[in-house]
Symmetry: C2
Subunit: 199 residues, 2 copies
Amino acid sequence: MKIKYPKGQEPEGVSAPFKVHKPAIGKRLSAANRGMDFEADINQSCLYYEEKGVALITKRPTPINVVKVDYSHGAKITNAYFEKQSTTDYNGVYQGRYLDFEAKETKSKTSFPISNIAPQQVAHLEKVEKNGGFAFFLIHLSQTDETYLLKASYVCLFYREKPRKSIPFAEIRSEGYAVKEGYNPRFDFLAAFDEAFLK
Amino acid sequence: MKIKYPKGQEPEGVSAPFKVHKPAIGKRLSAANRGMDFEADINQSCLYYEEKGVALITKRPTPINVVKVDYSHGAKITNAYFEKQSTTDYNGVYQGRYLDFEAKETKSKTSFPISNIAPQQVAHLEKVEKNGGFAFFLIHLSQTDETYLLKASYVCLFYREKPRKSIPFAEIRSEGYAVKEGYNPRFDFLAAFDEAFLK
């Protein structure tokens, strides 16, 4: 998880504290490396949607428990701890609809371990749906460089009933909606969203 | 702004890292003290809505720029700085609608200084509206213990055209929608929302 957003990388007037992804030439074509940058690529895609006026999706900052602040030279935090995100990483609005999702990647070659998903994220996404929002996961299979949108309703049911400890890729491919990869946006996940929820 | 969310205060299964407000008996009735707890009261109100299944509104964590982490005993952050929220503090879903708002308070006796609002918050709320979401401010006048919902469209126009450097309370009272204060929720701002946007 990216924590630090270097100053000067956020375009002016853009809401989200997104780190703009700068692909390292050459490296980007390796499937193994691709997965490492999945979150950065989702951030870039959100930024693209925001700039084009397509949607406004922001990444929640990582919550940090601040224990001590030194005010002798401005406010410098000298003791703090990362806390687990109690919701999901992303939410926003797309044509009036409330979207809420989590982006996950796996290096596995066969299946997505549901231990990757925190119980409070499942609870949160179920509440999103109950309140009329749209909840989903974006899952990136880094070995084969495939990305799928999976409805939260499907993933949460799998999580609760636990027929297995991981979701086989074959099932992700049949239940999910393929997310097209490109240059800009890096992942056109709203096209997959349309396919999954609006058709 | 509250930064630290003490462990054990978040009820299980509740998404937002809200600090549950525990009113100090006696103190709570003083108008001067009331304003100090406005954010905590809004958090309590969101929690109430979440538990009742009325809406799911979460507070974005304060973004922190982490400079140095000491991994010798777990991950202890030893150097970090608070960053300005580049969006608003709250967003969520209410009966399928995307809500996005900022909660502000003023100790002024006459008017709300628009210098309290950051330019990126205005830009963000304008984008919310363009994408079909509902954007507003909750403004608490701590001297008189009044709270109003003001549509972002109104506040942003005031911000951009700057007829004055502050919004007179008389105008807030006529343009805004009064938010009823009670025990639970502390501020029933969704009733004011219905009034403002749905009638």
